[in-house]
């Protein structure tokens, strides 16, 4: 029973990390229709920014913001240059997927070249431990959960309460109608690249804060979980991404606790497969954005 509770505790932490990435991915995919497989490598980029901040003596929480900003900048640069060129040429959706994958290769191996294929350890203090029954978490893990919830709340508020959110939702439903209603769709797409890129960067940094190490494959290896949560939760739905991340995170940690640590991602993937088989276009597609 204790093992069960402990793995739920770890599952919530893992879920918070997945959820931050999945919310960003989901927003980006819902608005731009680009299934961006270079998402993971941008997470790695932000992770390295956090590592550099730590070695430069900058507070890790400031590093979190800087990592998020680096993700935002990288994403909008890619979106405005590469993706735009191929979209203008009329690339089909899956040709676009190939383009994003080649970008993933380019970014990942550029980082590998600069980082000389090494694993870098972070050493900042984890803060004091807190015990809730059988579950013991560190202060930074609590902070990660807090960041996940805060980002979810901020994203929901942005989508529901602000003009930008309203424009985003309008564009997700019908971009040409939105344009003819006077919504500056180009600027909305720019905002999407920035916000989703920021979330991507934050997810990368948070992952590094939890695992305390970073190498050039960090984000790519984490990409399956983010993709699975985004597809499972329904594209363009922050709430769905959050719930899906909780399911995936807890399934992952439970499987690991029950002895199959090599198979923990397989179990999470099994959930995705079962759901995709029963609902081929993902659960609750665009629910939140179409409200």
């Amino acid at each position: 029973m204790n093992v069960f509770l402990q793995s739920i505790g770890f599952g919530v932490i893992t879920a918070s990390i997945i959820a931050i990435g999945a919310m960003g991915f989901s927003l980006q995919f819902g608005l731009t229709n680009v299934l961006n497989l270079s998402f993971g490598s941008i997470m790695t980029l932000a992770g390295f920014v956090a590592y550099l901040c730590e070695t430069a003596g900058i507070n890790i929480w400031l590093g979190l913001v800087l990592g998020g900003l680096s993700g935002a900048v990288a994403t909008i640069l890619i979106g405005k240059s590469v993706f735009k060129i191929f979209a203008r040429r009329g690339a089909k959706l899956f040709e676009m997927v190939m383009v994003t994958l080649s970008l993933a290769l380019i970014i990942e191996y550029s980082i590998d070249a600069v980082s000389q294929d090494q694993i870098y350890q972070l050493t900042f203090p984890q803060g004091s431990s807190f015990t809730f029954g059988p579950i013991t978490v560190t202060a930074s893990q609590l902070a990660i959960i807090g960041i996940g919830i805060a980002i979810f709340a901020a994203l929901e508020a942005m989508l529901k309460l602000t003009r930008l959110g309203k424009a985003l939702r309008a564009m997700a439903v019908d971009p040409s109608l939105a344009r003819s209603c006077g919504i500056p769709t180009d600027r909305i797409v720019n905002a999407t690249w920035l916000v989703s890129g920021f979330l991507c960067g934050v997810a990368g940094v948070v992952f590094v804060i939890n695992s305390l190490s970073v190498d050039s494959y960090t984000g790519t290896l984490f990409l399956p979980s983010v993709l699975a949560a985004a597809i499972l939760g329904g594209v363009g739905s922050p709430g769905g991404a959050l719930v899906a991340s909780l399911v995936l995170g807890i399934v992952t940690e439970l499987t690991a606790a029950l002895g199959g640590s090599a198979y923990s991602t397989v179990a999470a993937f099994g959930v995705l497969v079962v759901v995709l088989l029963s609902k081929p276009s993902g659960v609750a597609r665009k629910v939140e954005l179409t409200v």
Binding site: T32, K92, L93, F94, E95, M98, V99, S110, T220, G282
Partner: protein, 376 residues
């Protein structure tokens, strides 16, 4: 000069053959059927692991330094057949869930996830195939039986690989020209139209996936018996991308183009750096190779999306045949044998959006389905 012919040239030719088999397999799946197999490399890996395990013998005694499943010592060429079977079986297993009618970009994502997760699992679980250290000491078949030196055995293997390449080329060409191959292209270009004349896209996709998987498994088996070791380092997700680049450069949907693409991308391109003076830390040249592979793909798509040798326009017709009957009842082997008595494929020789669908242009098939809005 002596060592050049003893080791370097045979190695190069064997790699060329293996990559060519991979390219044909992927061309069958992507070029003809439009299946985006981002997990291609795991089928080659499955073939390699199984061929290694069934020729190494049990993982006790001499082999007790490594642990693996399926340990046996089967006489050659059974390991190669086992490799092809492993590739086919794994393809069938993955195809059963990944090839359903889900959005094609989801499909690509699911395949990529499969590739990444398979690598993690095999690296982490030492009981499967010795974890991240991989399997070593795979014997060279027939070498002791024929009493050959390593250098002359390598030439035997060169001949064998090239012979298999010829056989596979004839097989894929016949498959592609058969009514089954036309059915594949029909499905690729106009899935709904193909379904409306009684073709089952899911079954067609599964068939082509399994056949491609068998070729991939065979190529893995041939490779592992040549290099006698196999580990997770050999099958990262990016390896699939090398073959995809060869496909794009050579000409998607053209089996002869695959020869050009394989010569240009995996062979010329990945061999050239070994002539460069070494610089930086070890591995830096590899990094640049991958970066350039990524750039090459994007440039190819922009500059010459149909490749060096574009897909040939191939129209099958028979005098007096008015009704479209793409083989549906004969079963797979019936279709394989019925090459030449081709039924007409006129239904698909028409325009879709001003573009003839038989010789499909850059946007390979995939006319907009309702749920697939365009990239914004």
């Amino acid at each position: 000069m002596g060592s050049l012919f003893a080791y370097y040239i045979p190695t190069l030719v064997v790699y060329f053959g293996i990559d060519l088999l991979s390219a044909w397999s992927l061309n069958l799946q992507y070029g003809y059927a439009g299946v985006i197999n981002f997990s291609f490399i795991i089928f080659q890996a499955a073939g390699a692991y199984v061929a290694a395990a069934v020729s190494l013998g049990p993982d006790t005694g001499l082999n007790s330094y490594q642990t693996y499943i399926f340990g046996a010592r089967l006489p050659w060429p059974l390991p190669l057949i086992a490799a092809a079977a492993a590739g086919a079986a794994l393809s069938a297993l993955i195809g059963l869930f990944a090839l359903r009618r889900i959005r094609r970009d989801y499909q690509a994502a699911v395949m990529l996830i499969v590739s990444l997760i398979a690598l993690q699992v095999v690296s982490a679980d030492v009981h499967l195939f010795n974890g991240s250290n991989g399997l070593t000491g795979v014997p060279h078949p027939m070498m002791t039986a024929l009493n050959l030196s390593l250098s002359s055995w390598e030439w035997v293997w060169v001949v064998l690989v090239l012979a298999i390449c010829v056989v596979v080329y004839v097989l894929v060409e016949r498959l592609c020209r058969s009514s089954w191959g036309r059915a594949l292209r029909a499905m690729r270009d106009q899935e709904d139209a193909a379904a409306s004349i009684g073709l089952n896209p899911t079954v067609l996709r599964l068939e082509v996936f399994v056949i491609g998987g068998a070729i991939a498994g065979l190529s893995g088996g041939l490779l592992v018996e040549f290099i006698s070791a196999w580990s997770p380092g050999a099958w990262g997700y990016a390896e699939t991308f090398v073959i995809f680049t060869a496909l794009l450069i050579g000409g998607v949907g053209n089996n002869r183009g695959m020869i050009v693409g394989t010569l240009l991308v995996p062979i010329l391109f990945l061999e050239l750096p070994s002539y460069l003076p070494s610089f930086g830390y070890p591995g830096l040249v590899d990094d640049f190779e991958w970066i350039i592979i990524g750039l090459l793909w994007m440039l190819g798509l922009l500059i010459r999306p149909r490749g060096v040798l574009p897909e040939r326009r191939f129209i099958a017709s028979r005098e007096g045949a008015g009704v479209m009957t793409v083989g549906t009842r004969k079963g797979f082997f019936g279709r394989l044998l019925s090459v030449g008595s081709g039924e007409p494929a006129r239904l698909f020789h028409r325009s879709a959006g001003g573009v003839p669908t038989v010789a499909s242009p850059a946007g390979i098939g995939d006319e907009a389905r309702p749920e697939e809005a365009e990239v914004r």
